[in-house]
């Protein structure tokens, strides 16, 4: 079966090949990995994340109960999560290590333990 012409064209463009109109210089853009995270009193699901260095990701955040925060101070990334909404936050980790993400909106009696671990590997 012949490959779909549109797929071929898209692949050609992404690779920056020449066409009749001249060289195409579009760079390949990897689609960011989407990481769903659910916040609920008083934890995150999942609470442990592993990311690759320089890998663009989008955190897809939801809250199961009250207004929560999602903060990754080491990467200057944060968002407020409103129940009933899906909040998307892009991030590209630029250093390896183990980092804390935490709720920075005081959400109840277990708020201070609401955190997770983000590992960024090479």
């Amino acid at each position: 079966m012949l490959p779909n012409r549109r797929i071929l064209l898209r692949a050609s463009l992404a690779l920056g090949v020449a066409t009749a109109a001249g060289p195409i210089t579009l760079l390949a853009q990897a689609k960011p990995r989407v990481i769903p995270i659910r916040a609920l009193k008083f934890t995150y699901e999942p609470a442990e994340l592993t990311l690759k260095l320089n890998e663009p990701v989008v955190f897809q955040l939801t809250s199961a109960d009250v207004v929560m925060g999602f903060s990754v101070p080491d990467f200057h990334t944060r968002a407020t999560i409103i129940p009933g909404q899906v909040i998307e936050v892009p991030m590209t980790p630029d250093k390896v290590g183990e980092f804390i993400f935490l709720c920075d909106v005081f959400c109840g009696s277990g708020h201070e333990n609401m955190e997770g671990t983000m590992r960024v590997v090479a």
């Binding site: 101070p73 935490l102 909106v105 005081f106 109840g108 955190e115």
Partner: protein
């Protein structure tokens, strides 16, 4: 206490904790302040977390605040006033229980001999209801007052659960600062640190940098705060920031361990890491002598 030895020297001689001197460079008084100033001292209490339960952390949870009140009452010379910088209570999701705890703190603190006692909330007191219950017992969450030539500003960075001061309060702060001479002696009380001490443990104020930028326009500003349950002394430009010990449990140094967990009780050294502080305000030069006092 007797004789010409000043109070700070006396405390040093008596070996009562470390003394931190903070100097400013004021050379004159602002309008209307002449004659109103003299050296004085106040006491800072903080983070009593009334209602907290955890015998491994503090087996005397019901007694520590009362001991602190007794210790203040036992001071040879009484302070001009007492400032309580927040987290009077430990948080609860139950509004009725929150009020019960606030009422009990009010009752315990009423035993202080000093009747000029001022309060501000911490996030445990105020963040779940925007300060509603706190105000019922202790009044406004932000205010100013003047005492013997020093202008005091209480900034609320906890009633908003996102740990923000907020545009409206920042405008209020700016308007108040605009009324003070550039070299006015200014002391700011907050609960959270205004600077990013360690945001990984929520030791920060979302828009604290904006408040600091406003305060930097004055020459003699010092900030006293709570929240982190330990001493910390930090400079942002010409502003000194001093955190206080708590009265329920001590917390570790920022980033010294993976999690922000209370330091376990040490039966060999009970109440270690807990305490209150005295602050001597001296006029010439502008200076605050901070003396940490134990609870025992």
């Amino acid at each position: 206490m007797k004789g010409p030895v000043d109070r700070r020297q006396f405390l040093k001689l008596a070996g009562l904790g470390g003394v931190v001197l903070v100097s400013g460079c004021a050379s004159s008084l602002g309008p209307g302040m002449a004659g109103a100033d003299s050296d004085f001292y106040f006491v800072q209490l903080s983070d009593s977390h009334w209602g907290f339960e955890g015998p491994a952390v503090n087996p005397d949870a019901q007694g520590t605040l009362k001991k602190a009140v007794a210790a203040v009452n036992g001071l040879a010379r009484q302070p001009d006033f007492v400032m309580f910088t927040g987290d009077l209570t430990h948080t609860t999701d139950d509004p009725k229980e929150r009020r019960r705890r606030l009422a009990e703190v009010s009752e315990i603190v009423s035993a202080l001999k000093v009747k000029d006692v001022r309060f501000m909330p911490g996030e445990h007191d105020a963040s779940l209801d925007n300060g509603k219950a706190f105000k019922e017992f202790f009044g406004p969450t932000r205010y100013t007052f003047d005492h013997k030539g020093v202008h005091f500003i209480v900034v609320d960075n906890v009633s908003d659960p996102t740990a923000a001061i907020g545009d409206e309060q920042l405008q209020w702060l700016q308007a108040d600062l605009d009324r003070q001479p550039r070299d006015a002696r200014i002391v700011v009380f907050t609960h959270r640190p205004l600077f990013d001490l360690y945001p990984q443990w929520d030791w920060a104020t979302r828009d604290g940098a904006r408040a600091i930028a406003l305060l930097q326009t004055h020459d003699n500003v010092t900030v006293f705060y709570g929240h982190i349950h330990q001493e910390n002394h930090f400079m942002t430009g010409n502003i000194a920031h001093h955190s206080a010990k708590g009265l329920m449990f001590a917390l570790p140094v920022a980033g010294s361990q993976p999690k922000r967990l209370p330091i376990p009780w040490d039966a060999g050294a009970p109440y270690r890491g807990l305490g209150f502080r005295e602050v001597d305000a001296e006029r010439t030069p502008v200076k605050y002598a901070v003396t940490e006092m134990p609870v025992s």
